[in-house]
Amino acid sequence: MGYPHKPHPKETVVLSKHFGEADAKSYKGWVKRGGYRALERALATEPAKLIETVKESGLRGRGGAGFPTGLKWSFMPREKKKPHYLCVNADESEPGTFKDREIMRWTPHALLEGTAIAAHAIQAEVAYIYIRGEFTEPWAAMEKALTEARAAKVFGDIQIYLHRGAGAYICGEETALMNSIEGKRGNPRIKPPFPAAAGLFGLPTTINNVETLAAVPHILTNGAAWYKGLSLSSPKSTGTKLFSVCGHVQQPGNYEVTMGFPLKDLVYELCGGMRPGRTLKACIPGGSSVPILDRAETESCLLDYEGVVERGSMLGSGGVIVFDDSTDMVYQIMRLARFYAHESCAQCTQCREGTAWTTKILERILAGQGTLADLDLLLDLSENMTGKTICVLSDSCAAPVVSGIKKFKSEFEAYIAGRRKPVMVA
């Protein structure tokens, strides 16, 4: 449901069915709601069969990359010669995204069940759930749930451990996450080697997002065909997605809809639309690392992987940030650039220096000292920062900058020409 609000009739409630129900957090409460039956059956199923089912379902990674989950699982060695690992990415730090948090604090057992099923499918005997350090409430819920589930011995031989992050967005990148678990700086790794070949501690590893794994028990219970059927448009995007809507809407929150749902309806209907007297100016549909959509693009966008690409952006994590006409786009783009500059791990030259320089130029523009040449410089810098680094944090900084300058050029020009009063001090 669109917690903290009641489920909207247009939602397709699967993952969020029990959000807000305090009883759902306990082992007993979860079992009462049908929990752990899928796991029991899965543990008695051949791993290869599980992988096939998930492949059939068309489930794609819900963390942001959208990689087909069954295919990812199939990259693990069929024949087990060394220990395998599963890492659960609960580092949710993409601005605009707050769905994994809800899954963990309301339905921790859903995640545990999905984790155990996935571990069995990829023949991993150990799974680490990497939870960002700031998620104190989800951590507590997961810890309690894990203790109860362990006591009930539902996981078979699979060991699940929680691992606490300590304040680094970049640890949400799968190879950086592995480095962080290993007790290192959260630096992304160059690929190859790929995690399925040499990942955590150098051994075959799969990394999956929380929302992805929470969907797995439902797929096993209701079948791949059912999951595939939950799609309004593209056959390549199946199932439901929790969209975290925030910013300038009346009712921000998580909303669960089938793939292909119109973004327009999500914003204007389910979220109650704009604040009184306000109109939509811009929307970032997939967490801050994807290009900004203007109003026309937002109102004609379908929410699945292909549909958003058609509008020039990406589905990403599904963190929908809505900006109304009161927004200073230049300031917000600067604030996003500053976010990336804070979070850069410092390995790649383009990211380390480029995110900081981008921020400085935007600050100067906001201080009334920018020039038109600065806009060309920003675009050139962004080009330099795209497609040339170990991970895509650098590209993520460039995305709002490029799309922002393209679609909201007049706001930049207003600062540069002195038509708008500076809002920062040089």
């Binding site: 680094a168 700086r185 160059i190 500059a341 804070h342 979070e343 850069s344 791990c345 410092a346 390995q347 790649c348 030259t349 383009q350 380390r352 220096e353 480029g354 995110t355 900081a356 320089w357 400085k360 130029i361 100067r364 000292q369 410089l377 330099n384 497609g387 040339k388 680094t389 170990i390 040089a426």
Partner: protein, 517 residues
């Protein structure tokens, strides 16, 4: 069994290299240097400076040459527009915080940031002068290394060297983003015996040697291939001289011996090469005093003394003297009852953990193995005793000598020690920075070193001195070059059979006979 070979082209030039070769290495074979910073063949690949981006046909994005393996039929374009633009971008970004320190920076003239910027960087920065550059104060990391954070380009070569080659992670990357710098902890300074290599590895003037600080400009230096004399490992080095003074020792790469590194003991051990208190003329005894004279008289005097003396001869030699000299010194006493001995100062061994077979060796002399192969023994005290009753005693560059001798004492050396003041003749020789020659390291590798500066006064290479003495005694013709001296040695001694200076080159070769450790 040969490695499977792969064919590809680099900028149109075809090359064939073993499977698994990195594109950046394959490019070297095509004569192409792909600009780079963080990559180094002696360190694990990091792939983070992003400088070596190249275009590879059919790859959707630019690839880093340092982490891409060759593939059959691959076509690499290092000069493609996109690749050059990417590299220009990296250079611009490296320079936004890098201070314009060239006029006061030691690295100028041998700086890879200067080189690649000049080659393909922008001629002016677009970074507004309104922005302050990142600033951190200079830090003293330990015995010889200074860290200038403002110049650091975060290539992490130093961190990787200490972690993966020295296996003592005392350097880290601290902080994140553009606040990052190379850090160290109060408990754990950079005093590892091999730590000085981080200064060589640093592509810019960020890690500096205190010993070399502001001593000379890179373009004033002459560089000469040589062999380190610090111990018996035989690391290949380059002697950097300025106005005929050795000012710096740096490693020369040799994959069979020291790979790319030298230890701090060898690195700092060069001041003796510049000593001024040298014997500058041959000295002969007249009455109670030694008088300077010319080579003709000195050689003639030695010949007379040797012919008139008994047959018992003892040679006490330094293990720091060239193989050629040791050989010809032995030849001098052909027909005599001869004992030759050397002693070696011992010290603590200090391995470089990440390179098996490489260490600062306990034997602190470069040619102990050479001396052994030529028949010199280690029974030094016995030889000293024998010297007391010998007819002729030859002491070769042993400044701590305290020999009592009833017979003829001939001292051949670089400096004149107290114990040599009773000598009948004193002959001045060049030190190893002032001559060509060879050493044999502990693993039996014969390696050449070259003359880096002129010998003082009338001092001559030791091989020349002994060849002249030998000729005066009828043991053969004089020798004109070190190569000829070595050739004569190679004809006579089994371990060196078939060798010659040309074949040895500057990588060296293993001695022929089986060598014990």
């Amino acid at each position: 069994m040969p490695d499977e070979l792969v064919s590809l082209t680099i900028d149109g030039v075809p090359v064939r290299v073993p499977k698994g070769t990195l594109v950046i290495e394959a490019a070297k074979q095509a004569g192409v240097l792909v600009p780079h910073y963080c990559y180094h063949p002696g360190l694990p690949v990091a792939g983070l400076c992003r400088m070596c981006l190249v275009e590879i046909e059919q790859a959707p994005k630019l690839q880093i040459a340092c982490a891409t393996q060759v593939a059959e039929g691959m076509a690499v374009h290092t000069q493609a527009q996109a690749a050059k633009a990417a590299r220009r971008g990296v250079l611009e970004l490296l320079l936004i915080n890098h201070p314009l320190d060239c006029p006061i920076c030691d690295q100028a003239g041998e700086c890879e940031l200067q080189d690649f910027t000049f080659q393909e960087g922008r001629s002016a920065t677009r970074y507004s002068p309104d922005y302050a550059k990142r600033f951190n104060p200079v830090e003293d990391f330990g015995p010889d290394v200074l860290y200038v954070p403002n110049r650091c380009i975060l290539c992490t070569r130093c961190v990787r060297f200490m972690e993966d080659v020295a296996k003592e992670p005392v350097l880290n990357v601290s902080e994140r983003g553009d606040r990052a710098y190379i850090g160290i902890h109060a408990e754990g300074r950079l005093d590892h015996p091999w730590a000085g290599n981080v200064v060589d590895l640093c592509p810019v003037g960020s890690l500096l040697s205190k010993d070399f600080l502001h001593k000379a400009r890179a373009w004033e230096l002459d560089k000469t291939a040589s062999i380190c004399t610090g111990c018996s490992q035989g690391c290949n080095v380059a002697l950097d001289t300025r106005d005929n003074v050795v000012v710096r020792v740096r490693p020369r790469s040799n994959l069979e011996v020291n790979r790319y590194f030298i230890c701090d003991h060898g690195r700092m051990n060069y001041r003796w090469m510049n000593r001024g208190d040298r014997i500058e003329a041959p000295l002969v005894r007249r009455g109670n005093e030694l008088h300077a004279t010319d080579w003709d008289e000195a050689v003639a005097r030695v010949a007379t003394l040797v012919r008139g003396a008994g047959s018992r001869a003892v040679a006490l030699v330094s293990a720091k003297v060239s193989t050629e000299a040791l050989f010809l010194a032995r030849e001098l006493f052909r027909g005599h009852e001869w004992t030759g001995a050397f002693q070696v100062v011992m010290g603590e061994e200090a391995p470089l953990a990440g390179v098996p077979g490489l260490a600062l060796r306990a034997e602190r002399a470069p040619n102990a193995k050479g001396a052994e192969l030529l028949g010199y023994g280690r029974g030094y005290s016995a030889a000293l005793e024998a010297a007391e009753r010998a007819a002729i005693v030859l002491v070769l560059d042993e400044p701590d000598i305290a020999v009592r001798c009833e017979g003829v004492l001939i001292y051949v050396g670089t400096v004149l020690p107290e114990g040599a003041r009773d000598a009948a003749v004193v002959l001045p020789i060049a030190n190893i920075a002032e001559e060509d020659g060879t050493f044999v390291n502990r693993d039996g590798r014969v390696q050449r070193y070259s003359q880096a500066k002129p010998a003082p006064g009338m001092a001559r290479p030791a091989w020349w001195v002994f060849a002249e003495l030998g000729a005066a005694l009828g043991h053969g013709a004089p020798v004109a070059t070190a190569a000829d001296a070595f050739a004569r040695l190679a004809r006579s001694v089994d371990a060196f059979r078939g060798m010659g200076y040309e074949r040895l080159g500057f990588g060296g070769r293993p001695a022929a006979a089986p060598v014990g450790v």
